[in-house]
């Protein structure tokens, strides 16, 4: 076991201890096939939660997306995103010659699964923000890859924006049925449908 593996193991254990990190596979089983998971985004903890909810054999091939300027700023940040999470780095500054989706396309071509947060930023509102179009472009370019909607529940209470130590509160990740592509659907309709699919996984409030 390498140092990165051990650290990942420890991190998943801590995430489970703090949040339970229960994965509810309602619409699909956890399977080793290529997938794009897309979920609501409320906290930095979201990615760790999804990652801890995955069976350990899927963790290595399921990769998050990290902003290059922030996550390579210090050696530790760089190490944890590269070695532990195998993150796909994207740059936030748009340049003319490079498509911002290119690193993601590379990863998908390589056969990896991705986790993306199509809102683009963390939101404190109960309902997710409108989705950005990246998900649509990836879905059209890779029609054979399953699109799995997921809802992360309760995590904003674990670590509100600006806090660093998480409070132990139970969280769940609910995975829904794969989102189908509909022939002739335009971008706006697709993104709205994707957002509805994420919202549909939200557990009913008692």
């Amino acid at each position: 076991m390498t140092r990165a593996d051990a650290f990942g193991f420890l991190l998943a254990f801590v995430a489970r201890l703090i949040t339970g990190a229960q994965g509810h596979w309602k619409g699909c089983p956890p399977k080793a096939e290529q997938r794009i998971y897309f979920a609501n985004h409320q906290s930095h903890f979201d990615w760790v939660l999804i990652w801890a909810a995955l069976p350990s054999e899927l963790r290595a091939s399921t990769r998050p997306i990290a902003a290059r300027d922030y996550w390579t700023a210090t050696p530790f940040k760089h190490w944890i995103t590269r070695e532990v999470f195998h993150a796909v780095y994207v740059s936030r500054q748009r340049t003319d010659e490079q498509d911002p989706l290119e690193p993601l396309i590379d990863a998908l071509t390589h056969g990896d699964s991705l986790v993306i947060f199509p809102e683009g930023t963390r939101s404190a509102k109960p309902e997710p923000l409108p989705f950005k179009s990246g998900l649509y472009h990836l879905a059209m370019q890779f029609p054979q890859i399953q699109l799995i909607p997921a809802w992360i529940d309760n995590v904003q209470r674990v670590m509100p924006k600006g806090e660093v130590v998480p409070v132990p509160i139970l969280c769940t990740v609910t995975f829904g049925a794969p989102l189908a592509r509909i022939e002739g659907e335009d971008k706006r309709e697709f993104l709205e449908r994707a957002r509805d699919a994420v919202l549909a996984q939200r557990p009913a409030v008692a």
């Binding site: 339970g20 229960q22 529940d153 509100p160 409070v167 132990p168 139970l170 769940t172 009913a204 008692a206």
Partner: protein
């Protein structure tokens, strides 16, 4: 059989052999029954029994590990249980941003300290630490967060969670390691006595309310709780406790009285917890969306969290230990 002539260790070993023997027997009976054809209702009852039996097994294993691993291990084990219970409790309470620091204090400072106090047998501070010192510390931290909205309600919820899940449960390892003169090394029996008495009161009360079908005392909180069923539960627990006096340092009548008090506290505590669940709008603790539909940890241990402190205090006060 000459139980008194056995050494302490042999007596404790016998206790565990009997306990696990009974559990194995229950499991064998359950398995034999599951081979028969059953109707829908019987099948449901069968499934519920299996779930309860599994919980008892887990409890028995926990008890055994706690005993095997000595004061430090026992404290640590019950500390973990307390952590998981408090996590369930806080999950269902609507906390706000301003509670973050207070919750961190509760989980990562108060909880470990209380169990260290229990493990170190500093019982004087152990008894007042949460009701006196933490009672002030949590609202201070909360006030410093600067959010006056629902201030009393939020702090009351956190203090309540700590009282039940940390303070109440920390008395279980304290009982295990409480030193009675002339009763050294037999703390397991004391905790065993308490658990048996509390659990049998619950079972007897449940059975009595089904059999009597009396009017519930508080229909909107608990349909099966009635005064007469409660008295029957307490009375049967007292009889069982009295019959078990020989495992404890008590005389028969003392055992009877302590059993009645602990059982009464446990069943009333359960009523209170049920009211809390009704308030939060859930059927059981644990995660509201749990697919398994299993009941939470807190449902299992809540009666103990109420009976243990009372039992512990009465024992120490009356016997001056």
């Amino acid at each position: 059989m000459g139980l008194r002539t056995l050494s302490v260790n042999e007596q404790v070993a016998l206790l565990f052999v009997i306990m696990f023997g009974v559990l194995v027997l229950a499991w064998v009976i359950w398995f034999a029954l599951s081979l028969r054809d059953m109707g829908e209702a019987a099948q449901q009852r069968h499934g519920r029994f299996a779930r309860d039996l599994r919980a008892v097994w887990i409890g028995a294993m926990l008890f055994w590990f706690a005993w095997m691993s000595g004061p430090v291990g026992a404290t640590l084990l019950f500390g973990i249980v307390s952590f998981l219970a408090l996590r369930e409790f806080i999950t269902l309470m609507h906390t706000r941003r301003g509670d973050h620091r207070g919750l961190l204090l509760a989980f990562f400072v108060v909880l470990p300290l209380q169990f260290v106090l229990a493990g170190g047998r500093w019982f004087d501070l152990f008894t007042v630490f949460i009701p006196v010192y933490v009672f002030l510390a949590i609202p201070v931290v909360s006030a410093l967060a600067g959010d006056p909205g629902r201030f009393l309600e939020r702090n009351a919820k956190i203090q309540w969670g700590i009282m039940v899940c940390v303070y109440g449960l920390s008395h279980a390892p304290a009982l295990l390691i409480l030193e009675f003169p002339g009763y050294a090394g037999r703390g397991a029996f004391l905790l065993f006595f308490l658990v048996i008495v509390t659990a049998s009161a619950q079972i007897a009360q449940e059975a009595a309310s089904r059999w009597l079908r009396t009017r519930p005392a508080a229909r909107h909180i608990d349909r099966s709780f009635s005064a007469r069923a409660w008295w029957l539960g307490v009375a049967s627990a007292a009889l069982i406790g009295g019959a078990m006096y020989w495992v404890t340092p008590f005389k028969p009548l003392q055992a009877l009285a302590l059993a009645a008090l602990a059982a009464g506290a446990g069943t009333l505590g359960e009523l209170v917890m049920r009211a809390l669940k009704r308030d939060a709008g859930v059927a059981s603790w644990g995660h509201a969306s749990a697919l398994t539909g299993a009941v939470g940890l807190l449902d299992r241990i809540a009666p103990l969290a109420f009976s243990a402190p009372i039992f512990f205090h009465l024992t120490r006060w009356y016997f001056d230990v």
